[in-house]
Amino acid sequence: MGKLLYFIRQALLNISQNKLIHLISLGTISIAILILGVFLLLLVNVEGWIKNWGGSITMSVYLEDNLPKRQIAVIRQALSSREGVEIQRFISKEEALIELKSALGPQSELVEGLTRNPLPASFEIAIREPKTDPASIKRELEGIPGVVEVQYSEAWIKRFRGVMRLVRVGGMMLGGLLCLGVLFIVTNTIKLTIYSRKEEIEIMKLVGATDWFVKIPFLIEGFIQGATGGLLALVSLFVFYLIMASNKGIFLSFTLLEVVFVPHFYMTAIVGLSSFLGFLGSLMAVGRFFEV
């Protein structure tokens, strides 16, 4: 215990006695980790946006003709009481016809010749439950009395799932590569800070220090550097997030998207990874100089 304290003191002393080098390497480490962090932040947000945008399937719930107002209210009640369903609007038979006309555009002649309105009234609802199978929701809603049919676009869902998969798989692959790169940069940087102290290691061994006596302060140093770098990166990432969140109007012009920060788990992971890499880098670098 007293020994650990000695080693920590020693590590802090070393850092303060090699300030310049440590500052430089700290800079490198935090920037590298920050790059990883920005990537994670974007991934988390893009996933969120896509989920939000494509994950809310729109369904049309067609009603029987000539339902009394009271029963329509009952159906509305039934729909909105179901979790995950959000009623967007009610389209009466008349509105349906008007909409169809405008949608058909120059082909709207088609509708002119009609004697009676063949279109059903409907509720347009959004389902915010991307995990449940839409087919089962459809079946469930079709069980409500007064509902004739529920429609949604299979093609859309497929495409959405494809995009999600692309973002996930691509994100994971890129993230993995980026992780490897950052791992490499951080450990290399730590190595460089240690290689310049080759002589120090040699001298310590010459005065009778065991391998571990020499190594431990270096490992603690690496760990401290990594941890500090990780924390710095996290703080910078938060600043980046704030800037992004307050300026989203500028570059996310066409939709009002929410910007969220990376979840706690990632925050811990970033600092943890950074500390671990610092430690690992020291371990690898120090190992080289033990042939004295």
Partner: protein
């Protein structure tokens, strides 16, 4: 006790030591001398385990250095004081920290380390410089720091490689008195030097090296 049996050492072909055999008894005081490049430093470094002999055997207190494990070398070095010809001080640590290091590696407790370190620095006239860094010292001061670090742990064996090369005659005499005192307390002392003043008129045993061979003893 130090025993060398037919020790050879060559660096990539060029021999630095050839068939060196001798024995230093426990508590003895020995000079190793010879011209520049004779192999004095190499000899001392081999006794310290800092260099491996190409062939032959070295026994320190009965321990064969050729068969020793890394961890044991560290333990052995804690009982051997070595004054390096090129000092080998840590430039980014203060004088105090440099000397204290030799005790800290043994796991001694901090207050003991502090006391002994101060004492060693005082005996070498360096106490005023304890907070200075090696590069802020004169050559002779640095050499004395190296000596302080070697003696601070009360070593069983003291190996000093040209310990007075940067010292004036008065200090040289003082250092010799210091080594004698340490020797009196039972430490085995081996000093490599070509300082004639150190050698002359003493009854102390001298080993003469030339081109890696022991050419004379007296």
């Amino acid at each position: 006790m130090i025993q060398l049996f037919h020790v050879y050492k060559s660096f990539g072909g060029t021999p630095a030591l050839r068939d060196v055999s001798f024995r230093v008894r426990k508590g003895e005081f020995v000079f190793v001398t010879g011209p520049s490049g004779a192999g004095k430093t190499t000899l001392l470094r081999i006794m310290f385990g800092a260099e491996k002999a190409s062939s032959g055997h070295i026994l320190i207190n009965g321990i064969n250095l050729g068969r020793i494990r890394r961890k044991q070398i560290a333990l052995l070095r804690r009982r051997i004081g070595f004054v390096f010809q090129d000092f080998k001080l840590l430039n980014n640590k203060t004088i105090f920290q440099n000397v204290a290091l030799a005790l800290e590696v043994t796991g001694a407790n901090p207050s003991y380390v502090r006391k002994k370190t101060r004492q060693a620095l005082r005996s070498l006239g360096l106490i005023k410089k304890e907070e200075a860094y090696p590069l802020q010292l004169s050559g002779g001061e640095q050499q004395r720091v190296a000596i302080a670090r070697a003696i601070v742990k009360n070593p069983l064996i003291l190996l000093a490689d040209e310990p007075t090369g940067n010292l004036d005659p008065d200090l040289t005499r003082e250092i010799m008195v210091l080594f004698r005192t340490i020797h009196m307390k039972g430490t085995t002392v081996v000093v490599a030097t070509h300082n004639r003043e150190l050698l002359k008129g003493t009854a102390i045993r001298k080993i003469y090296l030339e081109k890696g061979r022991v050419i004379k003893e007296d």
